[in-house]
């Protein structure tokens, strides 16, 4: 009780703030956070897999493989994510005949977007390893699998991880933009609560804090992975 009274002094009292709404609607907010995390982590996983394939396609010798991959990357990297999401939501049903829920559209959009961004990071990471390493591994008579597994990938990973972490946090921030499609992520939950409660200062400040916390947590997890992989390459 004393703590609550402390909070209603000064500026809080002047603006008549009541942060207890965050506690009262913690369940709705928790579900919003879960959706936000799904919308970040699933596209990140898809982006890693598809992005690797695309980075291979972008560097392929055959133009028929290379150009579609390059076009995919350029289109997804050079248009606003909001336009991409709206396009996927309204155009995909027309082209494929299958309607998607806003959440599914969001998931597809972010996955394709992440694939394009991650492929560029993976491509430049592999390119930074240097041609001589490929040639030396080949000269040693290593098989194609061993060349990649033992020589190229261990050297590329430390170059890929830091920009990948940045990209992951950008992805988290991008999920907030999908609320315009009525995806039930944290941003949308906050907007809904605000339209009923009209406590914008408490709600949006908390939203900012939660997003920062999520971003910092993802960054910290990524740096653990970075340290682990650095340790394993050093061995």
């Amino acid at each position: 009780m004393t703590k609550e009274r402390g909070m209603t002094t000064g500026l809080s009292h002047f603006l008549n703030l009541d942060f207890s709404v965050i506690v009262r609607f913690r369940e709705a907010l928790a579900w919003g956070i879960v959706d936000t995390l799904i919308l970040t982590l699933v596209p990140a996983a898809v982006g890693l897999a598809v992005g690797s394939l695309i980075s291979a396609a972008v560097t392929a010798r055959w133009p028929a493989v290379r150009w579609p991959a390059v076009a995919f990357c350029e289109i997804w990297r050079n248009t606003p994510i909001l336009v991409q999401a709206i396009w996927i939501h309204f155009a995909l049903p027309i082209v494929t005949g299958v309607s998607t829920s806003p959440f599914q559209s969001g998931l597809i959009t972010l996955s394709l977007n992440a694939s394009a961004y991650f492929s560029e990071i993976i491509r430049s990471g592999v390119a930074a390893v240097g041609r001589d390493q490929f040639e030396a591994a080949k000269a040693l008579g290593l098989s194609l699998w061993a060349r990649w597994r033992r020589v190229i990938v261990p050297q590329a990973i430390p170059k890929i991880l830091p920009p990948l972490t940045n990209s992951l946090i950008s992805l988290l921030k991008a999920t907030a933009a999908l609320s315009i499609l009525a995806v039930d992520d944290l941003m949308k939950v906050i907007n809904r609560l605000n339209s009923v409660l009209f406590r914008p200062i408490e709600l949006y400040t908390s939203a900012a804090a939660i997003y920062i916390l999520l971003g910092v947590t993802l960054g910290a997890l990524a740096s653990v992975v970075e340290r682990r992989s650095a340790a394993s390459t050093a061995r």
Binding site: I75, P80, K173, M187, N194, V216
Partner: protein, 226 residues
């Protein structure tokens, strides 16, 4: 399936109006971001710890919060805190300019870092005024380093303006969506603005990439990067 791209031709003036908004918004946000970014960068490189920490928090905070959250915050909270009605377009431009200033401050800081500290000291040693050291020694070396990331951020600024649709600013996305809801031809309008955005953003990326490659190649050769 049937496409009616003649709808896009028919409502062309509405899209053009949105495009004008997008252009003016992008330019004013970018210009305000440069001015603010220079100020924040200047604070960030001060030796005084108290000033530096404020700049650090500013940069860290506005790069970490999603732009959408910041825009909604400004849209709903500023009128309560300031006690006056603030138009959506003003809060939107202010919000995105603050974000731009945080990102550009970091870009400028990297540029300042590319100038050897000894050159500032040499300038002071021969008695050059501080403004002259910046104008004649530092900035000519900073510009080529920051050009590529700045143009890249200009592309991001154009992308960010689309978020203003969420608070009702009638830019390109907002107009395309309202035309879509009137005609039920979302596909045509959204495709049209997608092509439009690509036509604006892709040349910026290409320019940044070629500029960045030149700077990287020169610094690889051990040459001064300009």
């Amino acid at each position: 399936m049937q496409f009616e791209f003649d709808q896009v031709v028919r409502y062309w003036p509405v899209l053009l109006h949105g495009l004008a908004y997008t252009a003016v918004l992008s330019l004013s946000i970018f210009a305000a971001g440069i001015a603010g970014g220079m100020a924040v960068c200047y604070a960030r490189i001060q030796p005084r710890a108290s000033i530096q920490i404020v700049a650090r928090i500013y940069i860290g905070l506005f790069r970490a919060v999603p732009e959408m959250v910041l825009l909604f915050w400004a849209y709903y909270c500023l009128p309560i805190i300031l006690g006056v009605e603030t138009p959506a377009i003003l809060t939107g431009v202010a919000g995105l300019s603050i974000v731009a200033s945080a990102y550009l401050a970091e870009i400028f800081r990297a540029g300042v870092g590319a100038v050897p500290r000894a050159q500032f000291e040499a300038g002071r040693a021969i008695g050059l005024p501080e403004t002259l050291i910046w104008r004649k020694i530092a900035i000519p070396q900073i510009l080529p380093v920051v050009a590529a990331p700045m143009v890249n951020y200009a592309a991001d600024t154009v992308k960010n303006t689309t978020l203003l649709a969420a608070i009702g600013v009638p830019e390109l996305v907002y107009n395309a969506l309202s035309l879509g809801s009137q005609t039920f031809r979302y596909f045509e309008f959204v495709t049209a603005i997608g092509v439009g955005f690509f036509a604006i953003i892709f040349p910026l990326s290409l320019y940044a990439r070629s500029k960045g490659a030149i700077v990287a190649a020169r610094s690889r050769c051990g040459e001064q990067a300009y």
